[in-house]
């Protein structure tokens, strides 16, 4: 698997898309920092970008890589290699190169800006960790979609739909549910609702840092325990890890059963 990871990674490092992605983040980081000159504002803007764009790019890129690397996959399938290691290797290749573009693209301008002496370093690290998690999760989801759909157009369609659903529609339904049942105690429901969507979960993690003052304004005891202690942080990270493992596990199951 590691060898396949290596070749997928090299392959991607050679493709211009990784550079486009890297350059995009580099540019974003530079624009935010040096044109704005305000680290706190930059971190908040970055959060919005990471919550929305990283899943989108992860999904699109994952699906695209899967369909575009069919030849490579076929070549590998012709070799005596384990199915699951072929796909997990490719998955990790994509996910890691995307994560690397993200971390380096944003990290370099921030380091130059003097991040290490800044108090925002924890906020910023949290952003990068969350971004990496989202990349891992959404690339895995994209691979799942692609593995289940031979038709490229369909695969892309489902991928965009998935992103749209988790990034926007889910929150709309969530909000409507909360407002509809506002007479009932909702703090548990709202926390569970958050756990079920990796984008919401990551957003919450960042809220813990950026908006703790507002979050603590709410009375619910469960909320208070969740946001007021390290409990929330631990639970959020655990659930994020589950969110990575589940789709990865399905990639390996699905790839074993698929015909080529």
């Amino acid at each position: 698997m590691l060898k396949i990871l290596k070749y997928s990674f090299y392959d991607l490092m050679r493709s211009r898309w990784s550079y486009v992605y890297f350059a995009f983040y580099l540019l974003l980081g530079i624009v935010l920092l040096f044109l704005n000159n305000d680290l706190s504002k930059a971190v908040i803007t970055l959060m919005n970008v990471i919550i929305v764009l990283v899943p989108l790019i992860g999904t699109i890129f994952g699906v695209m890589y899967y369909y575009n690397s069919r030849e490579f996959t076929e070549l590998l399938l012709a070799q005596p290699l384990k199915r699951s290691s072929i796909f997990l290797g490719q998955y990790l290749g994509v996910a890691l190169s995307l994560s690397m573009s993200l971390i380096l693209g944003l990290g370099i301008p921030f380091v130059f800006y003097g991040l290490f002496e800044s108090s925002a370093i924890w906020d910023f690290s949290l952003l990068l960790i969350t971004g990496t998690f989202l990349t891992l999760i959404f690339t895995a989801l994209a691979f799942n979609i692609a593995l289940s759909n031979e038709n490229k157009i369909k695969g892309f369609g489902y991928a965009i739909l998935l992103w749209l659903f988790l990034a926007v529609i889910y929150d709309g339904l969530f909000l409507m549910t909360l407002i509809m049942f506002e007479d009932y105690p909702l703090d548990k429901v709202s926390l569970i609702g958050t756990m079920l969507n990796p984008i919401d979960l990551s957003r919450t993690l960042i809220l813990l840092k950026l908006d703790i003052s507002a979050l603590l304004g709410y009375t619910g005891a469960v909320f208070k325990q969740f946001f007021g202690t390290s409990f929330g942080l631990i639970v959020s990270f655990s659930v994020l890890i589950i969110w990575v493992l589940l789709p990865v596990w399905r990639i390996s199951i699905k790839s074993k059963k698929k015909d080529f």
Binding site: L77, A78, L81, D259
Partner: protein, 235 residues
């Protein structure tokens, strides 16, 4: 060498293999023939483990292939369409495959044989179909495995390379290897194969030598024999 029992496979509603029983002994060249969509490639891919059968068992070298994928190391496989990652150089591709399977020195001899030296530093995306097929052949023959499966090996080859391929197949046969071939070029099949396996509508219609086929169909030559099977069954 390969034993297949009651093999079934369907894709959606389309039943491709409907109970294939086949035994292939060690040594010799076997051609798998059949009209388009008869299930040749599906059969071969089943043996390779790329297609998961709905029903039936396949044994390669005495091992049930469901249990472990280790048997794949005993097979060299030439895929039908030579699709390679286009931004890889030929040299790198060969190096990568060696890295993934095992190291060998056979590749140098094969590169020389197919006159591929000038292309080693070129990207695979820039190669012609024939050259790609030659690279494909190098990748297949550079490992010394007892079972060789060739899916349409002649595609795009020029006459000289075709002769070299035939020679290569004979050399491997002489080593006592088992070679499975699918092809549409009847003359090629007639020339190289010891036995043919004819698949029709998901079943083995005929298995035996070309002579047996001619006798059975009462046709004077191989091509007509095949044609008569098809017309009789589709009429």
């Amino acid at each position: 060498m390969v034993t297949i029992q009651d093999l079934h496979k369907k894709f959606g509603k389309n039943k491709v293999l409907k109970g294939v029983d086949l035994h292939i002994d060690q040594g010799g060249i076997f051609a798998v023939l059949g009209p388009n969509g008869s299930g040749k490639t599906t059969l071969i891919k089943s043996v390779l483990g790329m297609v998961i059968p709905n029903k039936g068992t396949i044994e390669v070298l005495g091992n049930n292939i469901k249990k472990s994928s280790d048997y794949r190391h005993q097979i060299d496989y030439l895929p039908q369409i030579a699709n390679f990652p286009s931004n890889l150089k030929v040299k790198e591709l060969i190096k990568m495959i060696k890295d993934l399977r095992k190291d060998t020195n056979e590749d140098k001899r094969l590169i020389e044989l197919f006159k591929l030296e000038p292309f080693l530093d070129k990207k695979l995306g820039n190669l012609s179909g024939g050259t790609k097929q030659k690279v494909n052949l190098v990748l297949t023959f550079m490992f010394d495995s007892p079972l060789i499966i060739l899916d349409e090996p002649t595609t795009g080859l020029d006459p000289i390379s075709l002769i070299r391929l035939k020679d290569l197949i004979q050399v491997e046969k002489a080593k006592g290897k088992t070679i499975l071939i699918t092809s549409h070029i009847m003359s090629f099949v007639e020339e190289v194969s010891d036995e043919i396996v004819f698949i029709l509508e998901g079943k083995i219609y005929f298995k035996g030598t070309i002579q047996d086929l001619k006798t059975k169909t009462k046709q004077p030559d191989f091509e007509h024999a095949i044609a008569s099977i098809l017309t009789n069954n589709h009429a």
